[in-house]
Structures are given as C-alpha cells and as structure tokens.
Amino acid sequence: MDSTLSATTEGTPLLLPPGRSSSADAAMVDAGRSSAAGTALLPPYKLAALQRRPPDLHLSAFALLFAECIAYAQNRVLSVAELEYKLQQLGVDVGRRLLALVCLRERQVRRETRLLPVLRFITSTVWRYLFRKVADSLERVKDKNNEYMIVENDPLFTKYISVPSDLGDLNCNAFLAGMVMGMLCSSGFACVVQAHHVPRTDGAAYPPRTVLSIQFDPAVVQREVQMS
C-alpha cells in the first residue's frame, strides 16, 4: 500500500507541464483543463493506469489467454494438485500488482488494517473492478476463527472451461484464489487461499459453485484479537 501512496505523489509532478508554477497547475487541474497539456507527457501505459474506469477488456481475449496459460502449465506438471499450485502462484503475482493498481485507480489511500474490512474491500471494490459485480457471498467458516470463504456461483474466469472427468476435481479458479492470496498477503494478512468446487443449491448439477477458502495464519488472528 505504501507503494501506492508513493506512486501517486511521485506521479503528480509528471502531470504538470514544464515551465509552469505548481499553483497555476493546481488551478488548471481544478478547472479540469489540464489533461490536454499535462498528460501529453505521460506514456500511454501510465495514462491508462491513472484512469478511474479503464477500458473494458474483451472476455474472449482474456479467455483465450487464460486457456493458453492453463495449457502451458498443464504441459509442465505431473498431477492435478501441481497444476492448481502453478495457477495459484501465477495468480499471486497478478494479485500483488492488482492491489496496487486498484488502490491507485479507486483513490483508495488508506491501508486496511483489520480483517473484515480488507475482506470486504476485496469482495466488493476489487470484485467490482474485475467482474462488475460483488462476490456472491463472504462467510466465516463455522467453529473456525481463522477461516473465511468467498463464494462465486459461476466465476467469469471459468465461463468457457469444462474440466474433463480424468482431471478429477481440478478447479481453474485456483488462479483467482492466488489473486486473492496475493492481495491479502501483500496487505499484511498472511494466508493460504484455495479454490474448491461445491454443489449448487438449486439442484442443477452443472456448473458447480466455486468456494475460495481462506485460511489465515494464527498470528493474523492473534493480532486481530489484540486490536479489538
């Protein structure tokens, strides 16, 4: 989260056109006219990063890329568990970067220090950013104070993916689980997140729902108790 803060403060001078005083620029920013002159200095990727609502990505493009990621990983593993681990690790890297990006774009400058707010931030703000919807549910596992779960009825990532029976219980949302894990771990909540299939409640057999089960490190729970 510190990186986000420094990114915004360091980023601001770049927005200012050379040879102008910062107060004049502040006035221009207020008037909303700075974009044409100021942003011309920014490379396009930085410009896109600063937009609050970035352009939508075509689902087909993502689905094909994700399918290739899975096929690539599948050729380099010997078991289903190994494949899930690889996808999860891929997600962790994405999650770490995504957290910084979402905070920057959503102007979220405060770092969440409590367990429930950080989970709510992920299941609402980040979920809306990724999928334009909030997570279907966020629950605490009964009788466990360090286990939570995020339920998705039909995750977007696996919209086109049917897992063949010889791969057993493989859930490609291990990637999404990795993303959540990356975000939580880099926010200071050490945890392990795994994706599981659960039967649907409406009786239909397919597609099964996905549960991301989050198991926090005991130290996180201990800290939580001390803070309350």
Binding site: S60, L64, A67, E68, Q74, Y160, P164
Partner: protein
C-alpha cells in the same frame, strides 16, 4: 416436431459432435460417423464440380426433401455444422441457429484449454449451451424433447 439432429464435422470429415432428438431415425455411433464423413465427401465434391463460381467456396449447403430439410454451414476454418429438421422449421431460422452453433463452438470448445482441436467435443458446458439453444425446436406443442442418445 422440429429439429431431428445436429452434426458437427471437422475439416477432415470426422464427426466431432452429434445430438439426436425426438423423431430422428435410430442410428448407432458408427452409422453417424459414416453419415458425417459421407456428407463431408459429397460436400467437397459438390464444391469442386459446381458450375457456379460462388459455390466453389461453400459447396452444398442445403438439401430440401419431401419430409425433411437439411442445412449445412461451413465457416472458413473448415469445421461444418449440419442441422436436420422437419419442413415446419423455417430455413432462415435454421441458418441463424447454425451461425449461433458456430459461436457456441468458438466459445465453449475452442476457449476450453482441455479441448483438443479436431477431436470429439466432450465439454459439458458446450452440451448445455447447445441444449439451451435448441430447446424450443426439439419438441412439439410446448413439450420440450430430451435429446435421445445412442
């Protein structure tokens, strides 16, 4: 009645997906495979011998018979979608269903990392999407027919 059967044939004439509905003649998997490859060959020959230049690309796309109607659709990739129906089903409707089947194939088969190109389609989500698409055409008087499997 409505739609009798659906065939998806790959570019080398192999049957990769088929579904039979109420009213379709009983057909074993081997017969279906033979039918598909025969149709594919006839299609290719028709494209080669066609006297009209426009037909060289599409080949045979329609068969009108006294009892049934056949429509085939072959996009540039060479995969072929064939629908058999009663005469009650409008030809334009069949054509639009074929295009939408192509769309489903592109989504649920080709974007599935576990599907191998040109191999039989065994994707649960594809099956479900096809069933949903053809739901209204596979029964009579509002009764939705279940696909009949060999």
């Amino acid at each position: 009645m409505g739609i009798y059967a659906l065939f998806v044939v790959n570019r080398s004439g192999g049957l990769i997906y088929h579904e039979k509905y109420v009213g379709a003649p009983t057909m074993s998997l081997n017969e279906a495979l033979r039918m598909a490859s025969t149709f594919h060959s006839v299609q290719q020959i028709a494209a080669d011998v066609a006297p009209v230049a426009a037909a060289h690309e599409s080949g045979m796309t329609a068969v009108e018979a006294a009892e049934f109607r056949l429509r085939a659709y072959q996009p540039r990739t060479g995969v072929q979608f064939v629908l058999l129906s009663t005469l009650e089903v409008n030809a334009e409707v069949l054509q639009s269903l074929l295009v939408r089947l192509h769309l489903l194939y592109a989504d649920y088969a080709l974007k599935n990392p576990f599907y191998e190109k040109d191999m039989p389609i065994r994707c649960k989500r594809f099956e479900m999407a096809v069933a949903r698409l053809l739901e209204g055409y596979t029964g009579r008087d509002g009764v939705v027919a279940r696909p009949v499997r060999a």
